[in-house]
């Protein structure tokens, strides 16, 4: 059996992100393995530990993605394949390149993050499945491997459904799927010796992007710091507070 996790390297949620000339500037930001992809990596390592076989991480991204890939290898994945391309590439184009790698790897199960923390598209998993003609199950919260098929719980807006799906198939992760482990220090030292195969996107016949980002802006959260004077008429002040919480803050 072979299990693949498709990963991305994204800015740490704690990093302060800046825009520069209408573009996000990642200089100085800490870049990490996408936390939604961590569930994918954890799941394929568990599958390998329980059933044997191989756990492979695959990524599409700039050269620096290798760092996130090393983290996945330090968690326990066996090897990596990195399709390199600099700059923004839309998920459908990415999926075209990744599908070629996956067609060759021929895994039984593919996991990837339910969404991507950088250019939040939620499209990568389904687009990869589409490109391969494989079924896709999104927002997976539970997974059970069977013989030639798998049983998965798929999150819905107001509930969940359990599906049975023929393999190979692509699954996207949701919180609750598992509790991702930390990499370990011995794992970090071993990861150094694990193979990462790099392929330029152009070698797979993929270049450019169907979508181009023209401008990016960061949502600014502004504190209004409205203070209601409660010293004169507390009852009126309380009524005003409730009204503001209801109508402006919309929390009541």
């Amino acid at each position: 059996m072979k299990y693949v996790a498709i990963i991305r390297q994204v800015p740490d949620g704690e990093s302060k992100i800046k825009t520069d000339g209408g573009r996000v500037n990642l200089e100085g930001a800490t870049l990490i393995l996408d936390q939604m992809d961590e569930y994918a990596v954890e799941e394929i390592i568990r599958l390998k530990e329980a059933n044997g076989g191989e756990a492979v991480v695959v990524a599409f991204g700039p050269e620096r993605t290798e760092e996130a890939m090393r983290t996945a290898l330090a968690m326990g994945a066996d090897r990596g394949v990195l399709v390199t391309a600099e700059g923004y590439v839309d998920p459908v184009t990415q999926a075209g390149a990744l599908a070629k790698v996956l067609a060759e790897e021929a895994p039984d199960v593919v996991f990837t993050g339910g969404q991507q923390a950088d250019w939040d598209s939620q499209a990568l998993g389904p687009a990869v499945a589409e490109a391969l003609g494989w079924p896709s199950i999104t927002w997976t919260t539970a997974f059970e491997l069977g013989d030639g098929h798998a049983k998965a719980t798929h999150d819905l807006d107001e509930g969940a459904e359990v599906v049975r799906v023929v393999l190979p198939a692509v699954f996207t992760t949701q919180q609750g799927l598992n509790e991702p482990r930390y990499p370990t220090l011995p794992g970090i030292m071993k990861a150094k010796k694990k193979e990462i195969k790099k392929i330029a996107a152009a070698e797979l016949g993929v270049s450019g992007s169907k979508v181009e980002i023209v401008e990016q802006e960061i949502m600014e959260l502004e504190r209004k710091q409205k203070i209601i004077d409660g010293t004169k008429d507390p009852a009126a002040a309380a009524a005003e507070l409730v009204k503001l919480l209801h109508e402006e803050a919309k929390v009541l």
Partner: protein, 384 residues
């Protein structure tokens, strides 16, 4: 072109791992462990799981055999989250180091091997109720009887003493010989006649357990002795020459936390209609903290780098790093409280704990006064 301040890729990943563990697992629970004076054993277990405990145990004994640069990387991150917690793995390395320095291959495997097989600690027992800085004045007696030694005496201020598998004990076979009469010996905690009293009421670092140990006619095989009879004092000093570097690293972590908290608060807190960060009085404090932090960090790395290369210059450098970083961090913690005003004085904010914790960094593993003596001796020795 030899000068190079960069970390290797693995060291960067180690830093990222330690930072994440510190932020996600240690920092959120630090206040609770401090208030309850409770040993965070579950964190020790987690530290073991991710491979950050007892990292200096050599490969021959089943460990990773890492050096002080790696220990310093971990120390800054854990010190940032909770200096009290960091003292636990730090003091374990203090117990391991004399065995690395003076142990035979067989002793390394016998004593250090088990430390890699499960969450477990080592400890170092030098101080006594009546001796601290004057380490050669120790009174714990050791008498040889056939193939055994018999140890009697009391050790004081010993971190991890009871939680550890063993304490490396320093005892004298002839007090009149002062430092030439000392033996270093590994005493397992399960030997008959060993008992512990936990020390309560510490000002800070309350998560780290500290004990008085009583050895009452404890019999230990001769094979547990490290080095020769009379070499014990030298072994203790060679150990501390290295292990005070992680004290500096923890201090750097405390100072970084003090600055992080202060800068964040200064941007949020308003006075006279604008954030207090707009005032030079606050800016100067932040700048001073940053100057201390950066200089202490780079010097701590330098001392660790010297020690890992076995350059004798590390003796003075480790003393400078320890004294400088702990004083800089105490200053930073003090200023952090000042910037927070009244809020800094209560435990709703994490800064008062920084000050209580880092006070100890000026005292343990050789007081800062002793560090100055070491530094001065090294200046004068070069001229004699």
């Amino acid at each position: 072109m030899a000068l190079d301040f960069s970390l290797t890729d693995e060291q960067k990943q180690l830093q990222q791992l330690a930072r994440r563990f510190a932020r996600e697992q240690v920092a959120p629970r630090a206040a609770e462990y401090d208030q309850n004076e409770q040993v965070p054993w579950e964190l020790v277990e987690q530290l073991y799981e991710i491979g950050l405990l007892n990292i200096s145990v050599p490969e021959e004994a089943g460990g990773l055999g890492l050096g002080l640069v790696e220990e310093v990387i971990i120390g800054e991150e854990l010190g940032w989250a909770d200096m009290g917690f960091y003292t636990i793995p730090m003091a374990s390395e203090l117990g391991i180091t004399p065995i690395l320095i003076a142990g035979t291959e067989e002793q390394k495997r016998r004593f250090l091997g088990p430390l890699t097989e499960r969450p477990s600690l080592a400890a170092f027992a030098l101080s006594e109720p009546g001796n601290g800085s004057d380490a050669a004045a120790l009174r714990t007696r050791i008498v040889r009887e056939g193939d055994e030694y018999v140890i009697t005496g009391t050790k004081m201020w010993i971190s991890n003493a009871k939680e550890a598998d063993f304490n490396v004990v320093f005892a004298t076979f002839d007090p009149a010989l002062r430092h030439k009469g000392v033996i270093a010996i590994v005493v397992e905690n399960d030997r008959e006649g060993v008992s512990f009293n936990k020390i309560h009421g510490k000002m800070g670092q309350r998560a780290a357990p500290t004990y008085e140990i009583i050895y009452d006619d404890v019999r230990v095989p001769v094979e547990n002795r490290l080095g020769e009879e009379g070499a014990g004092f030298k072994i203790a000093m060679l150990t501390l020459d290295k292990t005070r570097i992680p004290v500096a690293a923890g201090s750097v972590g405390v100072a970084r936390r003090a600055l992080d908290e202060s800068a964040k608060y200064a941007l949020e807190r308003e006075a006279f209609g604008r954030p207090i960060a707009d005032f030079q009085a606050i800016q100067f404090k932040l700048a001073e903290m940053k100057m201390g932090l950066e200089t202490a960090r780079i010097y701590t790395y330098y001392a660790a780098w010297l020690a890992d290369r076995n350059d004798p210059e590390h003796i003075s450098a480790s003393a400078i790093a320890k004294a400088y970083a702990s004083e800089m961090a105490f200053y930073a913690a003090n200023e952090a409280i000042q910037i927070h005003g009244g809020y800094g004085y209560v435990n709703d904010f994490p800064v008062e704990k920084l000050l209580r914790d880092v006070k100890l960094n000026q005292i343990y593993e050789g007081t800062n006064e002793i560090q100055r003596i070491i530094i001065a001796r090294n200046i004068l020795k070069a001229l004699k």
